[in-house]
Amino acid sequence: MTPSAATLDVARIRADFPILRIRPRGRPLHYLDSAATSQKPQSVIDALTRYYEEENGNIHRGVHYLSELATQRYDETREATRRFINATSHNEVVFTRNTTEGINLVASSFGQAFVRPGDEIVVSQMEHHSNIVPWQLMAERTGAVLRAVPVTDVGELDLDAYEQLLGPKTKLVALTWVSNSLGTVNPVERITAIAHARGIPVLLDGAQAAPHIPIDVKAIKADFVAFSGHKMLGPTGVGVLYARDDWFDRLPPYQGGGDMIETVTIEKTTYAKAPSKFEAGTPDIGSVAAFRAAIEYLERVGLDAIHAHEQLLLAEATARVSALPGVRLIGTAPEKAGVLSFTMDGVHPHDIATILDQNGVAIRAGHHCTQPLMARFGCGATARASFYLYNTMDDIAALMTGLEKVREVFG
């Protein structure tokens, strides 16, 4: 049964998150920065603790009880991840440190195998720096060129321009699914279909999608999807790179080391098959093990219900914040995740964030690692409130009280 929005019991959910009970400077915490990192439910914290108290061993290399158990926990999370994104095989799931590492892996290995001087990689103006800089590094090594899809005034990808950018030299499209600065949800099925019609593979930065939107990699048909555990209730230190079909077989290894080999001689090494081929060295086993608890928590609550709840919060916050004098919303696309970016006339976002923080309201202020996007909208920085399953209308009321205080201080 998929719970409906009305059945999302936020009070019960909040009780699962111990950190929501802390009182910064004696005031209740209003955490509106989940787009930076989410808070963790007790089940995830318990899984991490249990791993180190009862299950810790190194994986894939021992015959003893703990090695076997740790390997089992690691593999269980891989299977849970496969199920969560509806991948065909767990061999399509590689664990990384985070989204950034997943993108760097593809940029490095794909670049080495398939990119030649003059080839083009298509990104967009709304990318996080982590989906720009790895491609620039790869372009420097290969002689490729980066092209960027422009963003419209409301903060959507200009899909006509996108189609026109694709040509015989385009080797890969690398776009974000959900913008971390704007909240825009991009039409990824259409984006992928347009590229595939020209035989061009697509990588999606799913960092802001995986926590909020049900992912079905079979439906969207993207070639690569990267996301981070810590933004979706999991621990830091674990990310996922999904690659469709045989992509992992076709790419050369990213890092060399233990666990990614079949046999090694001084002269020559043969590599293990994916996913091991891309998981050199001892990974963050404990975090991977605990990540399963995060996936299971999201599955229990239901991403459809979470999404519906966030949409209610977003609508309320959008209406109230945009009604304030001198406020400009950055990112007003019809399809948005729970992200509200804005500027206030005469007040820098840092000052907004500092004043809100004094009221226990945690938001993000700055360029959000999207400087090209800030340049596009003519602002160096924005204030950003982001919502998740544990947020309430109370949090938005606290945000509004804080913003009134900002006006008091700055006039």
Binding site: H348, H350, T354, Q358, G366, Q371, G380
Partner: protein
Amino acid sequence: MDLGALYEEVILDHNRSPRNWGEIPGARHVAGTNPLCGDKISLSVQVDGDTITDIKFTGEGCAISKASASMMTQAIKGKTKGEAEKLYEEFHGLVTGKASAPPDKSLGSLRAFAGVARFPTRVKCATMAWHALREATGNRQQAPDAGTSD
């Protein structure tokens, strides 16, 4: 915590109406940035012998960084490089809360930034202009690393 401790009236005033705003043609130009937030400042500094005869700035940033730059330009115009460095040290001690004695009288209105010491994430905002100045006067060889605590 009293926000007034951070946003003193004099700071808000300099934020609204920054003094010495602009560029000095032909002067030494130095850019300062805070890579963590993207704030930036452009200083132009006119030095005659050992004396800072004129200084102006432009840039974008928060109230703390803008007011700090504005008040710094007022404080150091006409000072020698050595005096400017001395003032920087006093100011740095003030905003990091490491000053051993009560704030030096020589800081004058810059003492309004004392509240910054209680907001560790904002120390860089207050010192950005000063780091750019030190680069311009040769009191510091290069811009500070993003990872430094000030």
